[in-house]
C-alpha cells in the first residue's frame, strides 16, 4: 500500500517533465491520515472496552512484560533517529552513510519484530491466544484485553514489516542511483511512514504494558 504511494510519487518523476516533491509529500501525509484513522478505530474500541472493564484491563496489563516493551520502545525510537540521519546523509551527498543508516533502520526494525515474536511465543506457550481453552476461563474483560493486545500489536507488527520492506527497497534504490542527493523524496516519504509506525507504538506501550 505504501509502495503504491511511493510508486505514484516515483511515477510522477518518471515522466520527466512533471516533478512535484511537495505534491508527493502531501500525498504521503494524506496516506498517513488514513493510517491514523485505521488505528483510530482500534483505539476507539480500546477506550470503550476499557471503560467497560477497567479492573480486568489492569489485571491483563500486569501479565505483560514491561521490560520487553521498553526495550522495543528504545529500539524503535533509535530506528527513527537512524532514519533521520540517513536523510541528513543523502542531503549531504554522503551515499555511504545514507545506505548505512537506512540499513541500520532495517536491522532495528527486524530486532523489534524478533522481540515481539518471542513475546507472542511466550503468550502462546502459556495458552494465551484467541479462542484458546485457557482464554475461555478468563473473565470477559481480560479476554477482551488480550484480544485487543493481539489485534493491535499484530496490526502494528504488519506495519513494521511493510516499513522494513519499503526501506529495503529504498536501500536498493540508493545503491542503484535512483535516489540521489537532489531527488530523495521517496526516501523522505518512507521515513514519514516509518515515523508513523514508531508513533503508533508510543501509544501502544502505555495502553497495554503500562495499563497496570
Amino acid at each position: 500500500m505504501s509502495d503504491a504511494i511511493a510508486q505514484g510519487a516515483a511515477g510522477a518523476h518518471a515522466h520527466g517533465e512533471h516533478r512535484d516533491d511537495v505534491g508527493a509529500r502531501l500525498g504521503m501525509w494524506l496516506f498517513l491520515v488514513t493510517e491514523i484513522v485505521l488505528f483510530g478505530g482500534l483505539f476507539l474500541a480500546y477506550s470503550y472496552m476499557r471503560y467497560l472493564y477497567p479492573v480486568e484491563f489492569h489485571e491483563g496489563g500486569q501479565q505483560l512484560n514491561v521490560t520487553i516493551g521498553v526495550i522495543n520502545t528504545v529500539i524503535l525510537l533509535t530506528s527513527s533517529l537512524t532514519m533521520v540521519l540517513s536523510l541528513v546523509a543523502i542531503q549531504r551527498a554522503d551515499l555511504f552513510k545514507a545506505k548505512l543508516f537506512v540499513g541500520t533502520t532495517v536491522v532495528l526494525g527486524l530486532a523489534f519484530l524478533v522481540n515481539k515474536g518471542f513475546e507472542w511465543a511466550a503468550k502462546f506457550h502459556h495458552g494465551l491466544y484467541p479462542s484458546s481453552e485457557h482464554m475461555a476461563t478468563l473473565p470477559h474483560g481480560e479476554q477482551v484485553f488480550f484480544s485487543l493486545y493481539f489485534t493491535m500489536t499484530g496490526l502494528h507488527g504488519v506495519h513494521v514489516l511493510v516499513g522494513i520492506s519499503v526501506l529495503t527497497w529504498v536501500l536498493t534504490l540508493i545503491a542503484r542511483g535512483r535516489i540521489t542527493p537532489d531527488r530523495y523524496v521517496l526516501q523522505e516519504n518512507a521515513g514519514l511512514y516509518w515515523h508513523l509506525v514508531d508513533v503508533v507504538w508510543i501509544y501502544l506501550l502505555p495502553l497495554f504494558y503500562l495499563a497496570a
Binding site: 503504491a4 515522466h15 502531501l26 488514513t34 493510517e35 477482551v144
Partner: protein
C-alpha cells in the same frame, strides 16, 4: 473561456494508441486518467446491470405465483449481493472514479492527476475487490446471507462465505481511499495558473469534499472488516458477547464509515448537477460559494450522524436525541443546494436538453429521498418504520434517484466529450419515460408498504401487502426497460453515433474548450484562468 490555446485537432485523441503497446495491453497499462475513467466505466456498467438483474429477480419473488422460484436462503443471498454490488461497486465509486477521473484534471487545467500510476493501481484494487466479492458466491460455505451491512454477531457466526466477501469490501476500500488521496493532492497541486479555489467548477468542490470523507472514513470500515475476518478466522471475539465483546461496537464502527459513505455517494452527483444547471440555463450558478461550502459542511456534519441507523439498537435516550438533532442539521446544506439549483433556472435562457431533464429528475427524486430522510431521523417515527420497506424506499430515492440519476446526467452531459460521439437525444428522452414511471411505481410504493408495516429483507409477505407488491414489481419492469434503453443508446452511439462537436452544449468550463475526444495531454498549452467558471456573458458561445 480564457486564453486556451487553439482547438485544432492537431494532437491525436486519447482513444488512439500512441505508445509502444497497442489494443488491450495499452489500455490495461495506461496511466492516462481519461482511459482509466473508461476502464472504470465499462466495469461499473457491467456490475450495475448484474445488480439490476438481481433486483428484478428479487421483485419477481414477491409475486405469490412466482414465489417458489427461489428458496428463502437464496433470497437472503440475493439481497446481500444486490447491496454489495450496487453500493461498493457502483454507487460509492461511480461518479468520482468515472467522471471525477476523466474531468477533474481537465476542469482545473491539468494534464493528469497527481499520481497517475497510483490511479491505475486503484482500478486494479477495484477489479480485484469486485472479483473477490463475486468469487465469495461460488466458494466456501455458499453466498453470504448477512445483508450488505455484515452485522455482527450474525456475520461472525453464519456458515456462509462472509470472510471472502468482507475481504473483497476491504480491498475496495483501498481503491476508494487511494483515489481520495490522489484527488486531494491533484486539487491542491495541479490547478492551472489563475485557477484560484473559487474559480474551480463546483464539480471539483464536490470531489474535494468527497475525497476528504474517503480518507477520513474508509479506514474505519477497513479495520472493522478486518476485525470481522479475525473473529471468523481466529475467534478474536471483539463483537461476540460470549467473549466479552459487544455487537453494538460493530454497528457504531460500521456506520461511522457507512453513513459518511452516503455522502461519498451523493456529493459528486450534486457536483454534476451544479455543472449541468448553469450550462443549460446559460447563467452563472446561483450562490457559488454557498454550494461550495455546503459540500464541505455536508462532509463535516455528515460524519457525525452515523448512529441514526441505530435508534432501535438500545442506545441511551440522550445519545438518540443528539444524533437525531445532528441528522436534522445535515439537511440544511442539502437544501441550500436544491434552492440554489432552482434559483439558477430563474430568468435563465433554458435550453432543454436530455442532461437537463435528467438533472431535474435528480432534484425531484432527491427531494423525496431527502424529506423521507428527515422522517427517518425523527425518533418517534423511526421506531415505527425501522427495518421496513419505508427505509428501502427512502434510500433508493437517495442512492438511485440521487446518485444513480446523477451518474446518468453526467453520462448524458459528458458522453460527447468522452467518446467524441453523439447519442440519440430522442432515445434519451424515450428511455426517461419508463424509467421515471417505473422508478416511482417501485419505490414510492415501497414507502407506502413500509408505513403499512411491511418489513424489509423478507422472502414472503402477508396477504394485505399483495397489491403494493404487485404494483412495485410491475414498476421494476418499467424501470429495467428504461435502463436497458438508456444504456443501449450509448452502445449504439459508440459504434454508429455521428461525430460530436467540441462544445455541443455551449458550456464555458474548460472541458468544452478542448477537442472531443480530448488529446492525450488534454491541453496543448496549460491555460491561464482569468475569471470564474460560469461567466457566460464574457464571451459569445456558438
Amino acid at each position: 473561456m480564457t486564453a486556451v490555446a487553439t482547438t485544432g485537432h492537431a494532437e491525436p485523441s486519447y482513444l488512439v494508441d500512441t505508445g509502444k503497446r497497442k489494443g488491450i495491453a495499452a489500455w490495461l497499462t495506461t496511466t492516462d486518467h481519461k482511459r482509466i475513467a473508461l476502464l472504470y466505466l465499462y466495469a461499473m456498467v457491467v456490475f450495475f446491470l448484474v445488480g439490476m438483474g438481481i433486483g428484478v429477480a428479487m421483485r419477481l419473488v414477491q409475486l405469490h405465483s412466482l414465489q417458489h422460484m427461489m428458496k428463502p436462503q437464496t433470497y437472503n443471498a440475493l439481497f446481500t449481493l444486490h447491496g454489495v454490488i450496487m453500493i461498493f461497486l457502483f454507487v460509492i465509486p461511480g461518479v468520482p472514479a468515472v467522471f471525477g477521473n476523466f474531468l477533474l484534471p481537465i476542469l482545473i487545467g491539468a494534464k493528469d492527476v497527481a499520481f497517475p500510476k497510483l490511479n491505475l493501481a486503484t482500478w486494479y484494487f477495484f477489479m480485484a475487490g469486485g472479483i473477490i466479492a463475486v468469487a465469495a458466491l461460488f466458494t466456501g460455505g455458499g453466498p453470504p446471507d448477512t445483508g450488505w451491512s455484515f452485522y455482527a454477531p450474525f456475520s461472525v457466526r453464519t456458515g456462509t462465505n462472509v470472510t471472502l466477501a468482507v475481504f473483497g469490501a476491504f480491498v475496495l476500500g483501498f481503491s476508494s481511499m487511494l483515489t481520495g488521496v490522489n484527488f486531494i493532492t491533484t486539487i491542491h497541486r495541479l490547478r492551472a495558473p489563475g485557477m484560484g479555489w473559487f474559480r474551480m467548477p463546483l464539480f471539483c468542490w464536490g470531489l474535494y469534499a468527497t475525497s476528504w470523507i474517503q480518507i477520513l472514513a474508509t479506514p474505519i470500515v477497513a479495520i472493522t472488516l478486518v476485525l470481522v475476518i479475525l473473529d471468523r478466522l481466529f475467534g478474536v471475539g471483539l463483537f461476540d458477547p460470549s467473549k466479552g465483546g459487544d455487537p453494538l461496537l460493530y454497528q457504531h464502527l460500521f456506520w461511522i464509515y457507512s453513513h459518511p459513505a452516503v455522502y461519498i455517494m451523493i456529493l459528486p452527483a450534486m457536483g454534476v448537477i451544479s455543472e449541468v444547471m448553469p450550462t443549460f440555463c446559460k447563467r452563472p450558478i446561483f450562490g457559488y460559494k454557498a454550494i461550495a461550502f455546503s459540500s464541505l459542511s455536508i462532509a463535516g456534519v455528515g460524519s457525525l450522524v452515523w448512529a441514526h441507523h441505530m435508534f432501535t439498537s438500545g442506545m441511551s435516550e440522550f445519545a438518540n436525541m443528539i444524533f437525531a438533532l445532528l441528522t436534522m442539521i445535515v439537511a440544511i446544506p442539502s437544501a441550500i443546494k436544491v434552492f440554489n439549483w432552482t434559483s439558477t433556472m430563474y430568468k435563465g435562457s433554458i435550453d432543454f436538453q436530455p442532461p437537463l431533464l435528467y438533472a431535474l429528475t435528480f432534484i425531484f427524486l432527491f427531494c423525496i429521498g431527502g424529506l423521507t430522510g428527515i422522517m427517518n431521523g425523527t425518533l418517534a417515527i423511526n421506531v415505527h418504520i425501522h427495518d421496513t420497506y419505508f427505509i428501502v424506499g427512502h434510500f433508493h430515492y437517495v442512492m438511485f434517484g440521487g446518485t444513480g440519476f446523477g451518474f446518468f446526467t453526467a453520462l448524458l452531459y459528458w458522453f460527447p466529450k468522452m467518446f467524441g460521439k453523439n447519442y440519440s437525444k430522442r432515445w434519451a428522452y424515450v428511455a426517461w419515460v419508463p424509467m421515471f414511471i417505473g422508478f416511482n411505481m417501485l419505490y414510492f410504493t415501497m414507502l407506502v408498504l413500509g408505513l403499512q408495516g411491511m418489513p424489509r429483507r423478507y422472502w414472503t409477505h402477508l396477504p394485505q401487502f399483495d397489491t403494493g407488491h404487485v404494483v412495485a414489481t410491475v414498476g421494476s419492469w418499467f424501470l429495467a426497460t428504461g435502463l436497458v434503453l438508456f444504456f443501449a443508446n450509448f452502445v449504439w452511439a459508440i459504434f454508429k453515433g455521428s461525430e460530436a462537436e467540441d462544445n455541443p452544449w455551449g458550456g464555458v468550463t474548460l472541458e468544452w474548450q478542448i477537442p472531443s475526444p480530448p488529446p492525450v495531454e488534454n491541453f496543448e498549452e496549460i491555460p491561464t484562468i482569468t475569471h470564474g467558471p460560469y461567466e457566460f456573458s464574457k464571451e459569445s458561445h456558438a
